[in-house]
């Protein structure tokens, strides 16, 4: 599980990652340029305002000193200059926010899109070993955070750098010595900003970590409430929770205190700069080297200078976070699917994005396991030298304890896994010689706990064949006896099933998943029969539906119901990865072996259940 530990911060610059990200930024080149240009012009405007003020002040002092009356033309000029600059600034602000926002929106869109596509192409084994929460975090929050930081960071950085350069140029061109003195505190400000930023980043990261622990505790406290009650663990749980939330309080307070030290400290040094500007500016003024307007300009600039420093420190520290996010997303986008079709196979049949259906052969349904072995990556052997010939239309029941390897056989047929040795032949041809897409389009698979998607019942059944008409969907539902409960539901076929089908009962979900499978009309059918008992009425319907589904298809069933097992053409009994018995029901009963015992136990339990127990 170690590999799924989160690291949300990376110290070293990883050029490679940023290079890979650039690909996703290419289509946004125009927005990037527009945004940067707008924000640079904005910075120029920000620098110009104090210059205008200087001009006004100087004109006033001149006319006051000369005792002349106000020159109306000057006033008009002021108005014109201020209004024009304001209009421009407004436009620049509009443009840069829009550009940065668009970069943010489109970059995260593109990253998510790429992730969606990648995820659908990955093999089943990937999802088997990767927690969903882990994938979700990458696709949602990491994509979001990364694009937020990049887009706004880029803009803020351009603005900050431009403001600083601009102010330095203007100040030095007016009075180099005064400029030097006024900016003397800048190095201190830079050091403080970067030190604090780094410190705060770490502190708030700790706070976030504890915060997610608290959420976890609440989750456990709520979902485990009933059990905690019966065990009288309330006080113990509360003590543990108190400890966590108390450490959250301590850490939060510490972080907040350091953060509230940061800004005042920066502000204070900034005013040291202003005081220097007043003193040396005043001195220079008294020497007659600059005007009052210029003095006021230097004071303005000295206060304007610290904001960009703060921004730069923030952006740079955030970029470290962004890099960690980027590493996580890129790692997802670069996962290679374990099961891939060979190039010549793709050339003939197309890949899953662009299937060449014209070349797809119709399937008959013969399946052969030819000396098939399978072992997991960790070396665990599940199947060894397995041989089995199934003629089209036959039903095979897989019987055995949980974890015996029944699902492995099903997963192999689905090509969710591939044999580590041997071959699986479909209609006499190695199934690797045709695409996964071809196989899956001929496959029906109903799971023990049926999975439905949010949406209407109609949409869920139609998932089996997307171009099915409403009538065909209903026909399928009627075939599996689901029609009745559907039309009795609130909105009939348009009833929403809720997240994961949560608004329906297990039995109803099963019936819908059968209808979905029957609509797909597959040649090969795989069924993982449910173990959980449902009410007798639905159970009867489910049984009938299963029999309908099996008709004329090659089927593999992970079977739990005796009637299903007894009615199959061949029973395969699996124990710890090996086939220990196979044959028809009567053959196996006569052998009086494992199957016999299994059957007897099961028989008693089912009969008891029939009485309602």
């Amino acid at each position: 599980m170690q590999e799924f530990q989160e690291h949300d911060y990376s110290e070293k610059l990883n050029i490679n990652i940023w290079k890979k990200l650039v690909i996703y930024m290419l289509s946004l080149k125009k927005q990037v340029i527009i945004g940067i240009v707008a924000v640079i012009l904005l910075a120029v405007g920000d620098i110009t305002f104090p210059l205008l003020n200087r001009w006004v002040i100087d004109e006033i002092t001149k006319s006051v000193d000369a005792g002349t009356k106000l020159d109306l033309n000057y006033l008009k000029l002021f108005v014109a200059a201020f209004v024009t600059l304001s209009v421009f600034q407004g436009m620049f602000i509009y443009t840069f926010i829009k550009a940065a926002g668009t970069i943010e929106v489109e970059l995260s869109y593109a990253l998510r899109k790429a992730a969606f596509e990648k995820l659908q192409s990955l093999s089943f084994s990937y999802f088997n070993k990767t927690p969903i929460g882990w994938i979700m975090a990458r696709v949602t929050s990491d994509a979001k955070r990364l694009s937020e930081i990049i887009s706004w960071g880029l803009i803020d950085m351009s603005w900050g750098i431009m403001i600083m350069i601009g102010i330095v140029i203007v100040m030095f061109s007016i009075n180099a010595k005064l400029a030097l003195i006024t900016l003397a505190v800048v190095p201190i400000l830079v050091v403080i900003s970067f030190v604090f930023r780094k410190l705060l980043l770490k502190l708030y990261r700790d706070v976030r970590k504890i915060n997610s622990k608290i959420t976890g505790s609440f989750n456990e406290g709520i979902t485990g409430a009933k059990t905690s009650k019966t065990l009288v663990l309330e006080d113990k749980n509360l003590r543990e929770f108190d400890r966590i939330t108390n450490s959250m309080r301590t850490k939060s307070i510490r972080a907040a205190m350091i953060s509230s030290l940061f800004f005042p400290l920066v502000l204070m040094f900034n005013f040291v700069g202003t005081a220097l500007a007043i003193y040396y500016g005043g001195l220079t003024y008294l020497q007659g080297a600059i005007s009052i307007g210029t003095l006021s300009l230097f004071i303005s600039y000295s206060t304007q200078f610290f904001d960009p420093i703060l921004q730069l420190a923030r952006v740079l520290s955030e970029l470290q976070q962004a890099q960690a996010s980027a590493e996580r997303i890129i790692s997802l986008l670069e996962v290679e699917p374990e099961i891939v079709d060979r190039e010549e196979v793709i050339a003939k049949y197309g890949d899953y994005l662009n299937p060449k259906r014209a070349n797809w052969e119709t399937i008959n349904g013969d399946i052969e396991f030819d000396h098939v072995s399978f072992q997991y990556k960790n070396g665990e052997r599940v199947l060894e030298d397995f041989n089995l010939k199934v003629k089209a239309g036959e039903t095979i029941a897989l019987v055995g304890e949980t974890g015996a390897g029944k699902s492995t056989i099903v997963n192999l047929i689905c090509r969710f896994f591939e044999p580590t040795a041997g071959k699986i032949l479909i209609d006499g041809i190695d199934y690797k010689d045709r695409t996964v897409g071809w196989l899956h389009s001929n496959l029906g698979y109903v799971l023990q706990s049926p999975h439905l998607f949010s949406g209407t019942i109609m949409e869920n059944i139609r998932y089996g064949r997307l171009d099915a008409t409403d009538e065909e969907v209903m026909e399928a539902a009627k075939l599996v006896d689901a029609h009745e409960f559907i039309i009795n539901a609130e909105n009939g076929y348009q009833t929403e099933v809720g997240e994961g089908g949560g608004r329906l009962s297990t039995g109803q979900k099963q019936l819908i998943s059968f209808a979905r499978a029957i609509l797909a009309n597959p040649a090969i059918f795989l069924l993982d029969e449910a173990t959980s008992s449902i009410d007798t009425e639905t159970e009867r319907k489910v049984q009938t539906a299963i029999h309908k589904l099996l008709e004329g298809r090659t089927s593999f069933i992970i079977a739990h119901r005796l009637s299903t097992i007894v009615n199959s053409d061949k029973i395969i009994v699996i124990k710890s990865g090996k086939i220990i018995e196979q044959g028809s029901h009567s053959q196996l009963i006569n052998e009086k072996g494992y199957y016999y015992r299994l059957y007897t136990n099961q028989f008693i339990e089912e009969q008891t259940q029939k009485l309602g127990f």
Binding site: S86, T140, T215, F218, G221, K229, L238, R249, A256, I299
Partner: protein, 603 residues
């Protein structure tokens, strides 16, 4: 009003921090308005020998300097010193805010956690986990932000505005009016804008939620997706939602760009207006150059906070909603309200005497007139169809629900008079779907007491037939359970839960169908191990397995909330009722297997 009362209830314990913070803020904002006066003093007083608006003591300090240059030096020094104090007070205010808000959040979290745990069993049967978590985390956070920064920020903006207004008025009335003319507009504008954009924010959150849900469903159902070869369909579905979400964010961006551009434009115009009028009045001689500099400085000081104020006030709405949602949870009645209950020694005798129970929202009783006695050390099996009331019976015994009629006595003491926690400590119940905590297996089994020794844990695990399973895990007993560790099968979970209960020596043990996911052979092994361990223990086994039931000292068959039949195995098989029918199936299969299965199973 009610809202204010509620908020006060939460903050009163820490209100001292709020008071200190506000006092500090008064100083911070008041001294903030000195800054332009320093500029004015330099330009007007030092250079031109005109009047100063700075407080007398600062003027005196500056006048320590004898020459113009020295005065400038002392002015700079005073400015830095004032800022030093300001920085100190800002720090005090910030720290107090942190203490204030984090203490409140801490208390809220602990109170919520405690209260949720103490809510009744039936509440938790209907509770929506996601919603409760939302209330306990993000709603608490909203309130925390409100009391931590928004509350003091509002004070801060109002104070700053008032002080600036006063300083301005001391200089020039008309100029003051001209300089603050846009303030009401810009505030209203901000308020309306943020109010309006709230809806877009909500829509955006919803569309993001939809996208995440769809992805989550796609990932959990990836086998269905692959088996139906629906990869393309899924991609386009997800991307459609991706687009909707992106478009919503774009809407916010568009709103923001228009808002900031126009409100900044208005602010620029205000500054321009102040400068131009200032120039006019300065040339007319009504104000000095220093006054002009001070005015432009004041205007840019006040405009940003005023816009923030609009935003914060909009957020007030959010915090009152959050507080209401928190209070709703806390107003649910907790189950431990009775006082002066008994804690008698419990030996293990149970008597039901005409006991009935009906759920508050049900029209018919779940248990009707149930009477029976279980002696200390007896094993009683309870059989019955789903919904016949057998689980309810178990729940009544540990007071997860209280019987509505009749009586239940434990060792002669009326159950309703016994403390709930006490009874649960003495009667162990293992639920059908037990919850395991995200700790190691070892900690899970030993959860009832931190002082168990290893042998006790192992022993309990052996009796529960889970020891071998555990040792097969890579990390054995130290294996983490849950999201960040292994996922146990249903049967394994049940067995860990049994082991957890067995570590503790208790007089009464109830298995509420808690071996349902364990296979019959293991079931038998566990029961045998239990019998070997103690004959003191009173056991109630709720089951649907015949083989389990037949060994019991007493078998009670439930039907429709009533006792259908009761007795030992031998008694019941002579009783021509349900039990006998089940038994017949059982025995028939042994003898005439071959002819039977065809007729019973065949379609």
């Amino acid at each position: 009003m009610h809202y204010l009362k509620t908020i006060f209830k939460w903050i009163k314990k820490d209100i001292i921090y709020l008071i200190i913070s506000i006092l500090a803020i008064i100083f911070v904002n008041y001294s903030r308005t000195f800054v332009p006066l320093f500029y004015k003093h330099a330009v007007d007083t030092i250079f031109e020998n005109k009047g100063s608006n700075l407080p007398g003591f600062i003027v005196d300090f500056i006048n320590i300097g004898d020459t113009q240059l020295n005065k400038l030096f002392f002015l700079g020094l005073a400015l830095i010193m004032i800022q030093l104090f300001r920085a100190l007070f800002m720090f005090i205010s910030g720290s107090c805010n942190a203490l204030f808000s984090e203490n409140i959040a801490y208390r809220m979290r602990v109170k919520l956690y405690n209260h949720i745990q103490n809510l009744s069993y039936s509440y938790h049967t209907h509770a929506e986990t996601g919603d409760l978590i939302q209330r306990s985390t993000s709603d608490v956070d909203t309130v925390r932000r409100f009391v931590g920064s928004q509350l003091t920020e509002v004070f801060s903006v109002i104070l700053l505005f008032t002080f600036v207004l006063l300083q301005m008025l001391r200089i020039h009335t008309t100029m003051t009016l001209v300089s603050l003319i846009v303030v009401p507009f810009i505030f209203t504008f901000a308020f309306i804008f943020f109010k309006k954009i709230q809806n877009v924010f909500t829509e955006t959150d919803e569309s993001e939620g939809k996208m995440s849900t769809a992805l989550q469903e796609n990932l959990t159902g990836i086998r269905v997706v692959k088996a139906f070869a629906r990869e393309n369909y899924e991609i386009s579905k997800l991307n459609k939602l991706n687009r909707v979400y992106a478009d919503n964010v774009q809407k916010i961006i568009n709103g923001m760009s228009t808002y900031w551009a126009s409100s900044d434009f208005i602010c620029f115009l205000q500054i321009a207006l102040t400068t131009i009028f200032g120039a006019y009045f300065a040339i007319k001689g009504e104000i000095t150059t220093g006054d002009l500099i001070a005015f432009t400085s004041y205007v840019s000081t006040i405009l940003w906070p005023v816009r923030q104020l609009g935003r914060i006030i909009v957020d007030f709405g959010k915090s009152s909603v959050s507080l209401k949602r928190i209070e709703e949870v806390l107003n649910e009645k907790d189950e431990y309200q009775e006082k002066n209950l008994l804690t008698p020694e419990i030996k293990g005798e149970i008597t039901f005497d005409h006991t009935s129970f009906q759920f508050p929202d049900a029209s018919v009783p779940t248990l009707k007139n149930v009477s029976f006695t279980i002696n200390k050390g007896e094993t009683v099996a309870i059989l019955g169809k789903t919904g016949s009331g057998k689980s309810t019976l178990a729940h009544l015994l540990v007071r997860l629900y209280d019987y509505t009629d009749g009586s239940i006595k434990i060792d002669g003491v009326e159950l309703k008079d016994i403390d709930k926690k006490w009874i649960r400590k003495n009667i162990g119940i293992i639920l059908q779907e037990p919850f395991l905590y995200s700790k190691t297996i070892y900690e899970n089994i030993g959860i009832l007491n931190d002082d168990y020794i290893e042998e006790e844990i192992f022993k309990a695990a052996q009796i529960a037939a889970i020891h071998t399973d555990i040792t097969k895990f890579e990390e054995g007993y130290q294996t983490l359970i849950g999201e960040r560790g292994v996922t146990l099968s249903g049967g394994q979970r049940q067995r860990v839960a049994i082991a957890r209960m067995l570590v503790k020596k208790i007089p009464i043990l109830i298995f509420d169908d808690s071996l349902s996911a364990v296979d019959t052979e293991t079931d038998l092994a566990i029961r045998n191990a239990l019998r070997e361990r103690s004959n003191e223990l009173t056991k109630i086994i709720i089951t649907h397995r015949m083989s389990t039931a037949m060994e019991a000292d007493k078998i009670i068959v439930f039907d429709d909330g009533e006792i259908h039949e009761m007795g030992t195995h031998d008694e019941l098989i002579n009783n021509n009722k349900i039990y006998k029918k089940i038994w017949e199936i059982q025995s028939s299969i042994e003898t005439d297997f071959q002819e039977n299965f065809v007729s019973e199973v065949g379609e």
